[in-house]
Amino acid sequence: MSIELDAKIPEGPLADKWDNYKEHEKLVNPANKRKFKIIVVGTGLAGASACATLAELGYQVEAFTFHDSPRRAHSIAAQGGINAAKNYRGDGDSINRLFHDTIKGGDFRAREANVHRLAQVSVDIIDQMVAQGVPFAREYGGLLDNRSFGGAQVSRTFYARGQTGQQLLLGAYQQMARQVGLGNVKLWNRMELVDVVVVDGRCAGIVTRDLMTGEVSSHSAHAVVLATGGYGNAFFLSTNAMTCNVTAAWRAHRKGALFANPCYTQIHPTCIPQADDFQSKLTLMSESLRNDGRVWVPENPDDTRSPDQIPEAERDYILERLYPSYGNLAPRDISSRAAKRAVDSGRGVGPLKNGVYLDFSDAIGRLGKSVVEERYGNLFDMYRQITGENPYEVPMRIYPASHYTMGGIWVDYELMTTIPGLYAAGEANFSDHGANRLGASALMQGLADGYFVLPYTISNYLAPFLNKPIPDTSHEAFGVAEQQARDRFARFLSIGGTRSPDYFHRELGKIIWDYCGMERNRQGLEKALSEIPALYDEFQKDLRVTGDGESTNQTLEKAGRVEDFFELGMLMCHDALDREESCGGHFRSEHQTEEGEALRDDDNFAHVSAWEWTGDPARPNLHEEALVYEEVQLQTRSYK
């Protein structure tokens, strides 16, 4: 089957493309908008903002979340901030500079036109969120404050304490709640997508499962938006919330939506290391700590002294030694690899020897404890709460962890997937961050997609369907999908093996982390591609799901999500194996410079790898979208 990957990039110079698109797109008359129904799955930043805006415009919107309330979506956990090219500091920022920083940060593997549009609408996001009452940090004069983040030489990050994601999500949730109150959005909570329905090559709706009653039901619409987040929980341990999963995206993939660049995963360098085998998740400590903390490990792997007893001469400040010009502020992917190499060489610290020190004693000596407390007090408290150790007295221990996934469902410039009428927004799509995302850009992208992109591009799709009938839920395709879903959950309940879904998730995560984590190579990936199917086979035979399918059953929900992670995990490895280069978060140890840095191959891999489901997870079908750069010069990233 051949699929034509047309990104539908508008004509004209890069800076004019989005304006050209908006001038020429097809519109739906305000009175006719109510004749169209749009389903939005997921209510994080992208989903909630899309629901609010589409409903304000007059469309009938139905929103689905598996949480008890839309406000629980994982966007809420973002700490640091949101980028925007406002240039309020007068420090030389501009749309063009934000665009270039994002393209370079992504190691030249993102689509130019999408990234430029993102930079353009970034300024509108801040205005919109201020108008909604988001309490951004202010200076004493009352104007908005900014901070700096990695990968940029300007100060363009807006923030609300260490809770920027929470405040932005509540802003978008409240706009959506207003539309629910007005009757323009119908909210379905505790409902999970279990399938996407395609009729005559177009998305006709979705099949859901009620998480309180187990009832499987169908919902038809003119268009469906998936804003269902990333797949970082494929690694089992990650900074993602416990219920983050790939199911919605994966169900769409199995129905024909191509999945792009699944091997582009971001490993964040500063997380609290795993403390025990039963640990359920990892906690992020903000990147900002590296402004004053120094990363080191003992020179001697057998050193058992407490850190304050190890003299300066016997410490290895790894980032300061390897990257003297950026030091402890080297970018995420590079810092993560340096920590991993130190631990792999046996010099890890802590009881499991699985971390590196992040030491504030110099900063406390230089600035005083009160200044350090003012800057990082809430983070130090959180660290103490989790580890029981006092970071003012002993160095923090940190280690990299899975945090964000740049890969996702392939979308064109309009954010439409390869299934017409099906859209993907926010972390669920692949389009804006290339092979590595810069800090404070995820919130920007989620809100850009939901507030400022989808409302335009969806009308362009819907306009020709005015007054034309669409398949309703009595169409046999819905019935078939419903029955398949019921059969699938009945199958999980009937296996009657000995192991829980969490057991398989943990084992699967270990394989993916070991062989498709921070550093990959052919041998390891091939090993993973033999181990994952073997474990999957065991899952099919030895899974045990207790309880029933007619009331809340979190074990049963988990079984479906773990099964989808199995198939996704295989695709991640296939993609990592196929991409014979290193770029951003994808580091193939065969492809590195003499200094151990990522070695890109622009001649052979300046493309998006978009994978097609063939029915056999061992044999996905690859399609390529060439990345054509009109404006940007490809360079090598260096932080030496």
Binding site: M129, A131, Q132, G165, L352, G388, T546
Partner: protein
């Protein structure tokens, strides 16, 4: 199970509320935890128990949880009669076993409030909170027409006070802790956040009236016990209730045609 630098707790007894559905009367069931690392979080202890139950062919204990970083507000639980357990300013997901001692009996119940009906075991339905927000917990600002973000300067103390109130995670501990099952801390926090900001002034009294009256349809009345502030995992101050009450009184008398006059 391996333990590291942490200690180990032994011989814990859990009294957990089990209820098969909204119509089941429910009952306590006793579970033994022979050994657990004190570095485990409270919810990880429940994960371990659930693993054990599943492997023994029993149904896992249902409980709400998600981010496990104290920010999403999904987790709940009455632990030894206290919403989110014994540690002040801490959500259940951030509570660690080192707070307890070997030999303890720990009683675990769902949030108890008639406005939060039990769905199953320890999971409750807090949708009434969404109903309060839907009638006024917002500033009406349709996408597209917003003026520049720096057009209206907001004094830092005002922005900080709004942020203090906006830190609410909507977990419902305030309702569960209140002897009357009142939602005044939740509603007051949202009203204080929006009513303090210049952007929130146009709808201030309409918002206050709508939210307070919807709150009263669903929840009990506040009689100033102050249990809500003590239970709040974000330590939201009870002052927000004073802001709410003052604005509600004004809402009943204010001539809205004169809203733009100071």
């Amino acid at each position: 199970m391996t333990t590291q630098n942490h200690g180990t707790l032994t011989n814990l007894t859990l009294e957990i509320w089990r209820q098969t559905g909204p119509d089941d009367p429910g009952r306590f069931v006793t579970y033994e935890i022979p050994e657990i690392s004190d570095g485990a979080s409270f919810l990880e202890m429940l994960d371990i128990l659930n693993e054990r139950l599943i492997e023994a062919g029993e149904e896992a204990v249902v409980f709400d949880h998600d981010c496990r970083e104290g920010i999403c507000g999904t987790c709940s639980l009455m632990i030894d009669g206290r919403a989110h357990g014994p540690q002040r300013g801490t959500a259940t997901c951030q509570l660690h076993m080192r707070t307890f001692s070997s030999g303890d009996t720990i009683v675990i119940e769902p949030f108890r409030a008639s406005s939060f009906p039990v769905i199953k075991d320890l999971m409750v339905d807090r949708a009434a909170f969404d109903r309060i927000v839907e009638v006024g917990g917002f500033i009406s600002a349709a996408t597209g027409g917003a003026p520049d973000g720096n057009l209206i300067p907001i004094p830092k103390p005002v922005a900080d006070a709004a942020m203090d109130a906006a830190a609410c995670i909507g977990c419902g501990a305030c309702v569960a802790a209140c002897p009357n099952g009142a939602a005044s801390l939740f509603t007051g926090a949202k009203l204080a956040h929006l009513n303090l900001l210049p952007q929130g002034q146009a709808e201030r009294f309409k918002r206050t009236e709508a939210m307070v009256e919807t709150m009263e349809e669903h929840f009990g009345s506040c009689t100033n016990h102050g249990e809500c502030e003590a239970a709040c995992p974000k330590s939201i101050s009870i002052d927000v209730i004073a802001v709410m009450n003052a604005d509600y009184r004004k809402a009943k008398f204010k001539n809205r045609k004169s809203l733009s006059r100071v």
